[in-house]
């Protein structure tokens, strides 16, 4: 893939999470969807303003769990029925009650792992390069005391001048154009 060029987005810097959240809510109301908040610590309101809770992680987690459940159950059935049929105190070979506990544990294991790795994958991690780090104020402030809203250029609503004016309405500390 050729390297992307041009504008990645406009990055607005705020001093407080409240201003960030307000700007995010307004941006969403105005129709922006391709945007992201960057904060030094988790700000639940920002996540809500981005409608961040609607992700596909729960679905990945559920599918992982179901996969763990079936895998374990089928494996145990295979082991006790075909591979190593052993008579345990006269019980039937397909003794499902005894299979439940490992199947349950594999359900938890698979769903936990798929939630964690699914989250990484859906976040696009591992990612060695991200354009927002091109902004010097982001590098200095994002992990200490500044709150950033980035409206990205591939949003259909985005226009260099119009979006800058839109962001300036929320009196940010600065609005920086971020290149790819």
């Amino acid at each position: 893939m050729p390297p992307q060029e041009g504008v990645y987005g406009l990055l607005a810097e705020f001093n407080t999470p409240s201003e960030l959240v307000y700007a995010t809510q307004q941006a969403r109301a105005a129709g922006f969807r391709r945007m992201e908040c960057y904060t030094p610590y988790p700000v639940e309101e920002a996540a809500e303003a981005l409608h961040f809770h609607k992700t596909r992680v729960p679905m990945v987690c559920l599918l992982g769990g179901l996969m763990g459940l079936t895998t374990a159950f089928l494996m145990e059935t295979w082991v006790s029925y075909w591979a190593y049929p052993i008579n345990v105190a006269g019980r039937p070979l397909e003794s499902w009650p005894a299979f439940i506990i490992p199947a349950y544990e594999w359900t938890i294991l698979f769903s936990g792992l798929s939630a964690a790795f699914g989250m990484f994958a859906l976040n696009g991690l591992p990612q060695l390069y991200h354009p927002v780090f091109n902004a010097p104020n982001f590098r200095n402030g994002a992990t200490t005391d500044k709150f950033f809203l980035c409206l990205e250029a591939h949003d259909p609503m985005f226009s260099r001048g119009g979006t800058r004016d839109f962001l300036n309405r929320f009196s940010p500390v600065s609005v920086v154009e971020v290149d790819h």
Partner: protein, 454 residues
Amino acid sequence: MELAHEHNGMAGAHGVTHEHAGDHAHPKARTLPASIAAPAVVAAWRTRMLLVAAVASVLSLLFLFVHGGRGHMLRAYLLGYVMTFSFAGGSLALLMLQYVSGGKWGLLLRRPLEAMARTLPGVFVLFVPIAIFQKKLYLWANYPTNAAARDAVKHFAISEEQALTTNAKRAMLNNAAFWWHAIVVFLILGLIAHLLRTWSVQRDADPAAGSQSSFDRWQKRFENLSGPGILIYVSLMTILVIEWVMSLDVTWYSSVWGLQFLVGQGYLVLATSILTVILLSKTEPMRTILRTTEQHDLGKFLFAFVMLNIYLNFAEYLIIWSGNVPDEIPWYQNRTLGGWWVIALLDFIFHWVIPFTLLLSRDLKRNKRKMIILTCFMIFARAFDLFWLIEPNFGDAARNLHLGGNIGILAYFTVPVAVVAAWTAYYLTNLMSRPLVNTNDPHLAEILEPEHAH
């Protein structure tokens, strides 16, 4: 993790909000409504419950004239009675739990729990018919002496094993003990419930209300009673449920029985109190008090009980299945053979599959209407589980679920409804008698904060 995040975010965001940003991002902290008394609609619910109880009682009386109807009425009454005890006793346990654990959920549920725990005297009145008719329900009560039990074996009225276990367990299971165990336990539980209520009234009326010293003093007093109280409750409740339900089959025993009922009570009472606060939240003051965040947390708590409940039930089954000894296995055979597997399977689906899969959803836990439907269903599921526990103990029903010539079994539909509806009317009466919010509690300020997640 999630909770920690929320709190982090909240502390940070709010601290800054008030200093710099003004009010554009957040609504202001809400104020407590002028009246925190129970809304008038509770009285209408009570009337409705009394009507339901009356109709169900009249319908139940029809079973007096049906073949086998009287026996089933008594069994169904036992089911209804165990439900009401689960409400009253379980709420006392949860009330003590929220005093020792603290947290906003406790403040939200405190009044409903207090109102339920306060029904204990009424529940004791409901116990009296069971004690009077104990010979009709319990085999060990019907053969009150060793000689009587041995004699019954000779006439093939009971099995050898039933006679031996009846005689071996007579120290605990006898006609007099059935009465005095219940009386003593109800006195002790009633005393704890009475103290908790009296202090709660005094706490509201404390002249120093709202000060840190008042919070600390009351908190300490409630904790000192509730800590030992939980231990006392669990031990005493175990004795009662062993006598009332487990001893219906005198040959069988399970060491997890008490814990299973304790968790079942938590399941039932939590569902009922969540239902109560959500229904109340259609009107003030609960509309202000119940935020979506706390409703979500309560849903997660309920989910934990759903899991713990199936864990204990399945563990009991697995252990007995693995042990495979003739002392224990017939209890499950009585409940799975001869048509009972349908009930067993439905019990599993009602009791666990449906609440478990639904409560996984974040949106459902935050939705009032769906939570109302689900909690109602969970109350039904608990009663359904009790049906599966109670009915197969009797000779005519064990390994033989049938309706033909056994129309009396339908009493399970009407009698428990009558008993539980009558109890609910009593509960709602108690609920109306106090303000719905405990104002002398530090958590109140937290609950009145604007909701941080919209």
